[in-house]
């Protein structure tokens, strides 16, 4: 059945777009309150040191300084995951990375606050640093979270599904490869900011550029020891997130504490340099992949080892670790699969979730290895991927439920549109094309802390004048969640998205949505909105049917009127319909909730990777490489994305283009690089993100597979399209020059080095060759799921 929609599927502008372009959108740092103080952090100058003494007396006596706090004022630990409560707002006894906040000051203006920082005396005792994987696995280095010497393993995982040895035994061809994916960071244009105001009545309000007001709310409750009902967290407009504003951060807690101490509002806006230290970006991952193939390219078995450099704290790290192993089987039918991974602590800024969270790194390795295998077996890159592609409505070997899946259609589309078959191995030297695919979750199946409550709730209130107000804690970080919600409600009520009044991301006013992470908002908040919208609609429809003395089944709500389908004379305006409904059945206020189906298996780690639906993407990249300089110019990108349904094609296309952009940056330019424990360049000049001059044309194809559980069939688009871009670039460079750069970012010196190897008669490859000699223990063997069909 073809559904017809009134606003779903239309390329409408964001509901707040004119405010944005007129300069009226308010971000946290645009806000001021009367008598507001400015807060600043003193940062650690050591990567690893004991704090012997902090003397704040000189700072406190500086005229204009209103408050100074240190770690002892906020002694309670926190962290985004319940199992990783290892952070302090300000360092207590010990610092673990350069840039870690040590003290905070509130003063009448920024200049005074900064002068006060210089008057805080901190006496450090430097400790041995742990910087590399090798050092983290050594026995003679200090333990970062604990006392004494020993290994700095944060968490390790070892899972086997099926029997990998049996799978390798029946393989015709087995290959092993090692890859490295360098760390990189979000670099949202808005630096993090928080404004706190503690009232005389003992209520705290925090406006913060956060993607997760609900989790910040819970963290403030814990660390400040205030009742949750006395804390309000508001996320106004957010100037980009990409996962970088998904943890509770020091400055949110210190701004709040300083406001409580001083009795005045306090605003802290992180500098660009501080954002590089607060980080939580992509983990550097070293990986080893061993895969068995039949001669026709069919995968028989796979082993995947990952080594994550986590930085100084837990953050999302346990989840990040499992994500480096979870989604490989969502694109390919891998009949036997073993994943072993380990995350270590080092004296560097903590890593966490960035767009694709833990999955772009293994996707890069997997897609490059698949191309190498195809090359060896004499199969073209598209065929080997089609041959192994998962099927819709199937189960993966690691117990993930697949519903709608248009992976093969995505491959076919980009292969056809790019002319891949006529270009691959056929373009002149220096030019090449590469193909890769990916899949991503439409929301994590489980909330971050264990509970059985809905993952998203939406309320709708209709005014007697017909005005519709939508309340949701979903946080618009630029991805367009507010417009998505307005579209879903407007579709249900026969109105226009721009007519909706949107109240979002405010813990006092809006019901819980867990936040803008894991690509969950369209699927979860969207589904909650569908429920709320239908309830409002059915009440208005019933009241109008009663008024017109007909059956509700014959009534439609569209174009701002409610009445008998096809009979304009027997209809009322939306506002009249609303008044009839309120008169008949009382206040027109309804709510909807969404809880994901129970999908997790019973093994340790089964909670990571499950999702009510997966998006699929395929990408072809064409490059032009200069063999003399190693400079890569991306000529064009074709990307097909299985979105289920595009609720708004303009916004979803924008997400695809943004994902391609960010993927190209990661593939070619960006690296969160360190010299020892010191960041090489915590600035937008040294950290190279693509400019307007670097961006090639992108051809986007939205494939609508109509997911059975998605809101109007929709799935995610915020993260998935980034995944295939990075390996597609690497595969295109190989096609262009015949060299393999098994290390991201693929910079010109690496290409030149690989070509130099070729000229000396050696294999043209740059990348890691070995992995640490780390023994994974406690392997969990998991039975293949019921109904799993071995290819």
């Amino acid at each position: 059945m073809t559904q017809s929609f009134s606003v779903v599927g239309k390329p409408l502008p964001r509901v707040d777009s004119m405010d944005q372009t007129m300069g009226k959108t308010q971000y946290v740092d645009d806000m001021t309150l009367p008598d507001m103080l400015v807060g600043r952090h003193l940062l650690s100058i050591h990567a690893h040191a004991r704090i012997l003494r902090i003397d704040t007396s000189r700072a406190e006596s500086l005229p204009g300084v209103r408050g100074v706090i240190t770690g002892s004022d906020l002694p309670i630990t926190y962290g985004i995951l319940p199992i990783s409560q290892d952070e302090h707002a300000l360092a207590v006894d010990r610092v673990r990375y350069v840039g870690e906040p040590v003290a905070a000051v509130a003063a009448v203006d920024a200049a005074t606050a900064e002068e006060a920082l210089g008057l805080i005396d901190v006496e450090y005792e430097p400790l041995d640093e742990v910087v590399t994987l090798e050092q983290a696995f050594a026995d003679d280095r200090p333990i970062l979270h604990g006392d004494g010497l020993g290994q700095n393993v944060h968490r390790s995982a070892a899972l086997e599904f099926g029997d990998v040895e049996e799978g390798f035994a029946r393989a015709d061809y087995i290959r092993e490869d090692v890859f490295f994916f360098g760390g990189n960071t979000h670099a949202a244009l808005e630096t993090h900011a928080a404004l706190a105001s503690y009232s005389q009545t003992g209520k705290l309000t925090l406006w913060s550029s956060t993607q997760v007001p609900h989790y910040v709310h819970r963290t403030l409750e814990k660390v400040l020891e205030l009742p949750a009902g006395r804390i309000r967290v508001v996320a106004p407009a957010i100037g980009g997130g990409f996962g970088g504003k998904t943890d509770p951060f020091s400055h949110e807690l210190t701004a709040a504490k300083l406001s409580m101490v001083t009795g005045k509002p306090v605003k802290i806006n992180l500098s660009r340099e501080e954002v590089f230290y607060a980080h939580r970006g992509r983990h550097p991952v070293l990986m080893w992949i061993k895969t068995g193939f039949e001669n026709d390219g069919t995968i028989t078995s796979m082993r995947f080892k990952t080594f994550l450099d986590g930085g100084a704290y837990g953050s999302y790290g346990v989840a990040s670790l499992y994500y480096t192993g979870a989604l490989q089987p969502t694109t390919y039918r891998i009949p036997n699969y073993r994943f072993e991974g380990v995350r270590v602590f080092t004296n560097k800024p903590p890593c966490g979730p960035k767009r694709g969270h833990g999955t772009p790194q293994p996707r890069f390795g997997l897609e490059c290895q698949l191309d190498k295998a195809a090359d060896h077996l004499g199969i073209d890159p598209a065929t080997i991927r089609r041959r192994n592609a998962v099927e819709p409505f199937s189960t993966t070997v690691n117990h993930l439920r697949i519903t709608s899946c248009a992976l093969v259609e995505c491959i076919d589309k980009v292969v056809e549109e790019s002319g891949f078959a006529g270009k691959h191995r056929q373009l002149p030297s220096g030019r090449g094309v590469g193909l890769a695919v990916g899949a991503y979750m439409s929301g994590a199946g489980l909330p971050i802390y264990f509970n059985d409550m809905p993952q998203s709730e939406v309320q709708v209130k209709v005014d007697r004048g017909g005005g519709v107000t939508v309340f949701s804690m979903a946080t618009d970080i630029g991805q367009g969640s507010t417009t998505m919600l307005a579209t879903v409600i407007a579709e249900s009520l026969g109105l226009e998205p721009a007519d909706m009044i949107m109240v979002t991301a405010d813990t006092d006013l809006t019901p819980v949505d867990l936040g803008s992470y894991s690509s969950r908002v369209t699927f979860m908040a969207g589904n909650a909105a569908v429920v709320a919208g239908r309830k409002i609609r059915s009440r208005v429809v019933q009241a109008v049917a009663d008024e017109l003395e007909t059956e509700p089944g014959s009534i439609v709500a569209e174009h701002g009127r409610v009445g008998v389908a096809g009979d304009p004379d027997r209809s009322v305006s939306w506002a009249d319909g609303v008044r009839l409904a309120i008169a008949a059945t009382g206040p027109l206020v309804e709510s909807g909730g969404y809880t994901a189906p129970k999908l997790a298996g019973s093994f340790r780690g089964a909670g990571v990777g499950i999702s009510p639906a997966y998006s699929y993407s395929a990408c072809v990249v064409e490059v032009d490489c200069d063999a003399a300089t190693g400079i890569v110019k991306v000529e064009r990108v074709w990307l097909a994305h299985d979105i289920g349904r595009a609720l708004n094609p303009l916004l979803t296309e924008g997400q695809v283009e943004g994902g391609v952009y960010m993927g190209l940056g990661e593939a070619l330019y960006e690296e969160h690089a360190f010299r020892g424990s010191l960041h090489r360049g915590p600035s937008l000049l040294d950290y190279k993100i693509p400019t307007a001059l670097d961006m090639p044309p992108v051809e986007t194809f939205l494939i609508e597979s109509d997911d059975p559980e998605g809101p109007f069939g929709a799935k995610e688009v915020g993260q998935g399209p980034l995944l295939p871009v990075i390996p597609a670039v690497a595969n295109a460079i190989h096609d262009a020059l015949g060299v393999r750069i098994d290390e991201v970012p693929i910079t010109p010196p690496k290409i030149v080095a690989a070509l130099r190897e070729v000229s000396r008669g050696r294999p043209g490859r740059v990348g890691p060759v070995t992995i640490p000699d780390y023994e994974f223990t406690r392997l969990t063997r998991v039975e293949v799921p019921e109904g799993f069909v071995t290819p």
Partner: protein, 158 residues
């Protein structure tokens, strides 16, 4: 550190502001005049979010010492509209989804306005060059290029 009285015209309004030697134009706009449409992404001239026009030339207001522009006329995103009607660029950016998070948008619009004032019919390559100093982390720039070209075409009556 001496204080000075700065006289500037911002979006057609005359202002007198007491500034120190180090005060930047960005601080004057955002903190003294309350014109928060102009953003700051780095405060050291790397991102372009603070771009404004000074005497019709685009500058990074975070790098401009306020005293240097004494007597000048400044245009910010709040001043792009004419008689309450949005600039064609503002409409085209909104219409084509050229703003996602919107944080780079004010600076981007100012650079685009300056580009179109110099070159009313730019090619995509010329738009890319004209906006090379303004970083955007959301859009991949593509819809921004489209919006600038659309506004240019409408400006030429097409």
């Amino acid at each position: 550190m001496a204080d000075h009285i700065l006289a500037i015209d911002v979006n057609g309004d005359r202002h007198r502001v007491l500034v120190t030697d180090q005060r930047t134009l960005l601080e004057v706009l955002r903190e003294d005049l309350g014109l928060t449409g102009t953003k700051h992404g780095c405060d050291v001239g790397e991102c372009g979010a603070c771009t404004v026009l000074v005497d019709d030339k685009p500058v990074l207001s975070c790098l401009v010492i306020a005293r240097q522009v004494d007597g000048s006329s400044v245009q910010t995103v709040e001043g792009l509209a004419h008689d309450g009607k949005p600039d064609l660029l503002q409409e085209a950016f909104a219409e084509l989804g050229a703003a996602q998070c919107g944080y780079c948008t004010p600076g981007m619009l100012i650079s685009a306005r300056s580009l179109l004032d110099d070159n009313p019919d730019p090619t995509t390559e010329e738009v890319q060059a004209g906006l090379a100093g303004n970083l955007c982390r959301c859009t991949g720039y593509i819809k921004i290029f489209d919006a600038v070209r659309l506004a240019a075409a409408r400006d030429r009556g097409l």
